[in-house]
């Protein structure tokens, strides 16, 4: 007996809580967007504790009403991510914990293809996956599972071909899929002259740690979207520099 509770009960209780905390922690780490929402929830909970502790006359009662609804709101907001995490938990993790980025040949092929597409003013959207899985997008796209090569990439984005409109997702040295559609960024500061391809590239960079290369159909200008930021790339060397930094 420990604290009037049988020891076996304490051990079992600790084990069950550990399992739950571990699952939640793993889920949050794998889903960066959800992690940010969870942090926001934690911050509001902290405000509630402060309001409660100091018995604040206005924020206290307001947060007393809001707080019981917060878990429900979070579950509704996160429903697709939670469902996906539960599904994936029992599946083999295709990305594994030790992920592999593309090799030098893959980088060269991506750069060559991008430069050629840019010179021909052919629109392109190439997303390179890092830690956060992009399975939810690739599953709805056309599966390819092909080696990354300049020829394949240029062919995919050839105008009027069935796959040219969506994004290509690259995982390691393989083209995972083509024709993938991302959620568009709703960034209010976004340059209005840029089209939906750029907005899609920025959108995926906001919700994952991937890097996206965008080639403008109108001007042939190359841009990259990473961590919710869009950068215009002036030359091949600059693109190689960013790719080397990202894919190391």
């Amino acid at each position: 007996m420990l604290f009037d509770i049988p020891v076996w009960k304490l051990i079992l209780d600790t084990y069950i809580i550990w399992i739950i905390v571990f699952f939640v922690a793993k889920f949050l780490v794998k889903n960066k967007r959800v992690f940010n929402i969870a942090l926001t929830g934690l911050f509001v909970a902290l405000l509630w504790t402060l309001a409660d502790r100091f018995d604040l006359p206005v924020s206290g009662p307001v947060l007393d009403v809001v707080m019981p609804l917060l878990p429900l709101a979070v579950i509704i907001i996160m429903a697709p991510d939670i469902r996906r995490a539960l599904e994936m938990y029992w599946k083999k993790d295709v990305r594994k914990d030790t992920f592999v980025m593309g090799n030098e040949r893959t980088k060269e092929n991506i750069i060559d293809a991008t430069v050629e597409l840019s010179s021909k003013k052919t629109g392109a959207l190439i997303t390179i996956e890092k830690h956060n899985t992009l399975d939810q997008y690739s599953e709805r796209a056309i599966q390819m599972n092909a080696d990354v090569s300049k020829e394949v990439l240029v062919n995919i984005f050839t105008p009027l071909s069935p796959l040219h409109d969506g994004a290509v997702i690259i995982r390691g040295d393989r083209i995972l899929c083509a024709g993938a559609y991302f959620i568009l960024s709703d960034n209010q500061n976004f340059d209005k002259t840029m089209g939906s391809r750029h907005r899609a590239g920025l959108g995926i960079s906001e919700v994952s740690d991937s890097m996206t290369i965008i080639v403008s159909e109108e001007t042939g200008v190359i841009s990259i979207a990473i961590e919710g930021i869009m950068l215009r790339i002036n030359d091949k060397d600059k693109l190689a520099e960013y790719l080397n930094m990202f894919m190391k």
Binding site: D4, V21, F22, V29, F35, L39
Partner: protein, 58 residues
Amino acid sequence: MKKLLDFFADPIRKVGRNAVTDIIIDYLDRHPFMIAVVSFVITAGIMTFMVVLPAIRG
């Protein structure tokens, strides 16, 4: 000072997205074993607050 003003202007966004949280997520993603360790520490904290401290206070 500007950073402090920025924080108070939009604290939720600043808490949700900053370099420190990014580094922590990145580290944990690369070291899955550490997720288990961190989870155990959090569990120990929960058990302390919910079992040990109430028992000590009687």
